[in-house]
């Protein structure tokens, strides 16, 4: 369950290997560091360029470290309003998804129903459909129904695309809450929905946090969907405005692009750290996929 940090796993090499163990550990460390450096160089560019007013596509230590790039992009039009819209979109779709997923998971987890299995397999099937492929028809549907440029329709669409995965994860989390607790409530005559709200949901709060953050991160990082569905500049989230910032002026201002990128990435990095600290992070996510 633990993310890469679990120290317990390293000591697992059999004791018998003791004589040959030290050199192999040194070699493993060396190779890992080498691969790590390859992954680190592009990341280093991002951080160094953000504080370098004269940044280019090359990676170099800035002559002067300044917050100039950040101050240049922290205006209402460039970063602030788009970030707020990103927040509204992500919060909206995560809330809708989690509510719908909790409600749907309850009968799937608690009742024996003939269609539960086919339904779950359909949902699992939905988790693996390439969303990119339905964007052309979604766009033409949005044009026909007048829902183009509507923030709430975009949020609902993003909620729907994350829903299959969310139902799958929520149902798995709910299965691990013992039924015996609710049975007491049923005996006392509480309706199922009351039992769900008062007993099940509070018990699965960590799991629901994971689902919520997962959907939030997906919506926050989504570029293609708002790029197609939100056409007016004043409605576009950061993912879209940052792209225009990249392509607009011919010559790219790498320093400001990096600063904007960091501001835009910060919330998902923080959320990822929260999840990986509390529940095992992405791993719980990929684990949930495997059922």
């Amino acid at each position: 369950m633990a993310v890469p940090t679990a120290p317990g796993t390293t000591g697992r090499t059999p004791a018998l290997a003791a004589p040959g163990r030290r050199p192999s550990r040194v070699a493993a460390n060396a190779v890992l560091v080498l691969i790590g450096v390859c992954f680190l160089v592009p990341l280093a560019w991002l951080f160094l360029s953000a504080v370098d007013p004269g940044a280019s596509a090359r990676t170099s230590l800035p002559d002067t470290v300044s917050t100039e790039n950040f101050r240049a992009v922290l205006t209402a039009d460039i970063a602030l309003r788009p970030l707020l819209i990103s927040f509204v979109l992500s919060l909206g779709s995560a809330t809708v998804t989690v509510l719908a997923a909790v409600l749907a998971s309850y009968p799937l987890s608690r009742y024996q129903m003939r269609f539960s299995k086919p339904f779950l397999y359909t949902v699992l099937f939905g988790t693996s459909l390439p969303v990119t492929a339905i964007m052309v028809p979604v766009f033409s549907l949005a044009v026909r129904t007048g829902l183009l440029d509507s923030i709430w329709a975009t949020a609902l669409f993003m909620a729907a695309t994350s829903l299959p995965m969310a139902i799958w994860m929520t149902k798995n989390f709910m299965d691990s809450v013992p039924v015996s607790l609710e049975e007491a409530a049923w005996m006392d005559g509480a309706p199922a929905m009351t039992a769900l709200r008062r007993i099940v949901v509070p018990l699965m709060r960590p799991g629901l946090t994971v689902v919520f953050i997962y959907v939030f991160m997906q919506a926050w990082g989504n570029f293609f969907v708002p790029f197609l569905l939100l056409r007016s500049p004043e409605k576009q989230p950061a993912a879209v405005t940052i792209y225009q910032f990249f392509g607009q002026f011919g010559a790219i201002d790498y320093g400001q692009l990096a600063a904007f990128s960091l501001l835009y990435s910060l919330p998902v990095i923080v959320l990822y750290v929260i999840v990986s600290r509390s529940v095992g992070g992405s791993f719980a996510m990929s684990g949930a996929v495997k059922g």
């Binding site: 369950m1 890469p4 560091v33 033409s140 909620a159």
Partner: protein, 283 residues
Amino acid sequence: MRILPLVPAVLLLLLFMAGPVLWSLYGSFTNAALTGPNAQNPQWIGLDNYSRLLEDPDFPRSVLLTVVFVLLSAVVGQNILGMALALLMSRASGGVSALIGGVVVSAWVLPEIVAAFVMYAFFTGEGTLDQLLGLVGVDGPNWLFVAPMFAVILANIWRGTAFSMMVYRASLDDVPPELVEAAQIDGASPTQRLFRITLPVIKSTIATNLMLTTLQTLSVFTLIFVMTAGGPSNRSMTLPLLAYEEAFNFLDVGYGTAIATVMLVVGALSSVVYIRMLRPGKD
């Protein structure tokens, strides 16, 4: 009454997922366009879009590029590098593993468009890669023009390896140490232990992970769109980009939808295979 709580989820899925999929099927049989008379009243043109696909030289090339992209960046790159990282981490010291794991995961946590900018700066002319090559006296070109597929494949490996690494790290923990020890006592070499014991034990995880990374990579759009936009002269135009270009740049929605439908079918077939693999005794 009992199924009432399912209603919101089912409505959302029907409206926003099943609806577009069916509409996609229908649209691919029409000459729908974004502007002009065909935008108002698309005509039913049967299989014309599909027969056009077969005659269009861009389409087979796009299929080939998509296959190359998925095969090299996901199946080979992310999986093998992810497995290598996981195996190395189980031997390396805890501190080093945690640190390098953190670096690899950072590339994956960044929003896709930010990862795309970073990779653009890395591969562009006089970018970071050319700067590094300059250190050994090589005058590097603009990789995005000279070798666009090379650039987007490496970019996708950089961005996506973390997922496979985390999946394999956890699955390696499930390999019973007694098995490996027993093989060691019998004199099996490290390579033999890897190929005869470790990999066979986790083979269902490998299959699942291959399928997941394949599906994710099949629909990669933003990374390529930002780095090369499918160019130069369509040399990195994978299917998602081709569908986008036909529908939105050439305003030929019907044809773009036909391409998207092909992707949907490929994706659907892959997920059926994936579900079949999950099924036996796993729920």
